[in-house]
Amino acid sequence: MNNMTTSAQDGAPVSLSPGRIALRRAFRHGGFWIGGTIILAIILIAIFAPLLTPYDPSVQSLSKGFVPPVWAKDGSWLHPLGTDNLGRDYLARLLYGARISLGLALLTVIISGTIGTAMGITAGYWGGWPDMIINFFITVRLTLPVVLVALVVVALIGSSLWLLILVIGLLLWDRFAIVVRSATQQLAQREYITSARAIGSSTPRILFREILPNITGPLVVVASIEIAHAILLEAALSFLGLGVQPPDVSWGLMVAEAKAQLLFRPWMIAIPGAALVLLIFAINLVGDALRDVTTPEGKA
């Protein structure tokens, strides 16, 4: 009778962290499964590309140019997706292209995420003039047309993969900053932040122990959107000839190189295009699922 303190879910020493609960819920979410499987498959393909194809994606063999894919007339299993105008195996290019597309997206999001989160937390936690300054930067950034700025920078300095990563990373932090800023503002009102200050916590402790873990939900969602964004941006820049440069290969570059063949060999543009669509679709599915499971409305 005196057990005034038995918990609602009663007795059982269940103590899953909120993150684990969200993850658990994610695994019951259809979109998370579908999207996650596709992304995982693409990541595995990117990692194990050398094992999946005997060809080097950049070795040319002019005599074997424009071999049609296996389903077309004259196609063969030797080159399942055929070859391009320079006789490079198209499947190999697709597999290796996944490496650049994914790796570049991840690295840019790490850069932009770090910048945006730092700015957002600073603005949201301190408010006042730091907030005004950071808001100014966000506004300035929002007035810049991303593709044009990236084009100009790449055109002026010259194109390299690392420059591309840096440029995209330095351009895509705006959404991180905006979302993190408003999430931090809300948290800063919470009494546990005041409590943390009252127990003498240092500012870094408050930022990293109290605030950061509680904004991972929105952070992960924004990150998924921005990865998709970065992949598309890279594809666009490559398409315009200022992105990934041969002999490197990315899906965007493949689309760009195939554009001349649009009317004659449509699969050359359709295959990397479809790969891009599939990847972006999967990332968005996962992003949606993460948003579903991290919003409080979804709580049991």
């Binding site: 009778m1 005196n2 005034m4 038995t6 609602a8």
Partner: protein, 357 residues
């Protein structure tokens, strides 16, 4: 004061809500009657189902909630099968609702006058000028100074007390027969609370409407209600007149509640207060025992064995408990339990009895 004309008659109201695969039953078999000119208070703690009951009566529960009732009658019109269109006609016209937080219940984008006129014009054939005039009169009636100017203001320009007065005026616009007030003063300061309660009661007595007051605050109930309906775990556990229930609570839950509240002038400073041990259980599945059994200091084997039906007690009261109906066999000391874990230091004053009243 309550006469025989019933405005609201609810019999066997149940609400079920599917949540993550299981079926929550936050309201089980609730009976409620409100007469003309009567104030009925539905009392209970958070999660007892009182607010959902109110929303079910207003037809405002979300689609996924399954509402069943044997009877849901407003003025002898059965609403159990009413169409959404009929509900919209009734709401704001014959039944009006006053919410806890007037800031969120008023639309911040529209002037007070616009919001009031819209309600009137939706339910009555009335010109805008007349609607404005009536709105202004009502604002004056609920004690708002300079009503003419308030009509042109936005909700954020008013203080909390004024906003709640506006809500009351809006509820009165179409001369409803029943007002449901869900925690009308919980968001307000104590001195403002007294004003608003007084206003509500005066208006109710003047217009002879029925008032269904949903609250957790037994003090508010004591000041306002004619009858009390105590809810626990989705069930009504006790019904009686206000004075009966407060002076001699029959159900152990009510008894525990009444004994856990400090009252200046009655309880001594620092006196160990009674409390109800345990917490409210989740409302899932059919009840196979008394809903209160885990927290009840009087619980017996019978209470664990079967669900307890409502039964008549003396003086036209109802209780859902097997204890004697005359209130005997109660012991105030059972509520003053030593807090088990602080007991080592606090045992010395653990048995101060609660005052008799």
């Amino acid at each position: 004061m309550p006469n025989d004309t019933q405005i609201l008659n609810v019999q066997g109201l149940s609400v079920q809500i599917p949540v993550h695969g299981s079926m929550l039953r936050p309201v089980r078999d609730v009976n409620l009657e409100v007469g003309r000119g009567e104030t009925v208070a539905v009392v209970g703690e958070s999660g007892c189902g009182k607010s959902l009951t109110a929303l079910a009566i207003m037809g405002l529960l979300p689609r996924q909630a399954m509402v069943q009732s044997d009877a849901l009658r407003l003025n002898s019109e059965s609403l159990a099968q009413a169409s959404p269109k009929r509900w919209r006609q009734l709401r704001g016209d014959q039944i009006a609702m006053i919410f806890q937080d007037p800031m969120t219940a008023l639309d911040p984008c529209y002037r007070i006058g616009n919001q009031m006129c819209e309600i009137l014009q939706q339910h009555r054939k009335i010109s805008r000028t007349d609607a404005m005039a009536r709105s202004r009169d009502l604002l004056g009636k609920v004690g708002i100074p300079a009503p003419e100017e308030r009509l042109k203001q936005y909700p954020h320009q008013l203080s909390g007390g004024l906003r709640q007065r506006v809500m009351i005026a809006m509820a009165l616009l179409c001369e409803p027969e029943l007002i449901i007030a869900d925690e009308p003063t919980t968001a307000l300061d104590v001195t403002i609370q007294a004003q608003i309660l007084r206003l509500l009661r005066d208006i109710q007595q003047e217009t002879n409407i029925g008032l269904l007051l949903i609250t957790h605050d037994l003090g508010v109930v004591a000041g306002m209600a004619d009858r009390i309906v105590v809810m626990y775990g989705g069930q009504v556990v006790e019904v009686g007149t206000c004075d009966q229930v407060l002076a001699q609570p029959l159900h152990p839950y009510t008894e525990g509640l009444v004994r856990s509240i400090p009252v200046p002038g009655e309880t001594e400073q620092g006196e160990t207060l009674g409390y109800i041990p345990g917490i409210v259980p989740r409302q899932v599945g059919e009840l196979s025992a008394c809903g209160f059994v885990d927290r009840c200091p009087y619980a017996t084997d019978i209470c664990h064995a079967k669900s307890i039906p409502m039964r008549d007690a003396d003086n036209a009261r109802l209780m859902r408990c097997i204890l004697p109906t005359d209130g005997s066999a109660r012991d105030p000391a059972v509520w003053v339990l030593p807090d088990e874990t602080t007991a080592q230091g606090a045992a010395t004053h653990g048995s101060t009895p609660c005052p008799k009243f």
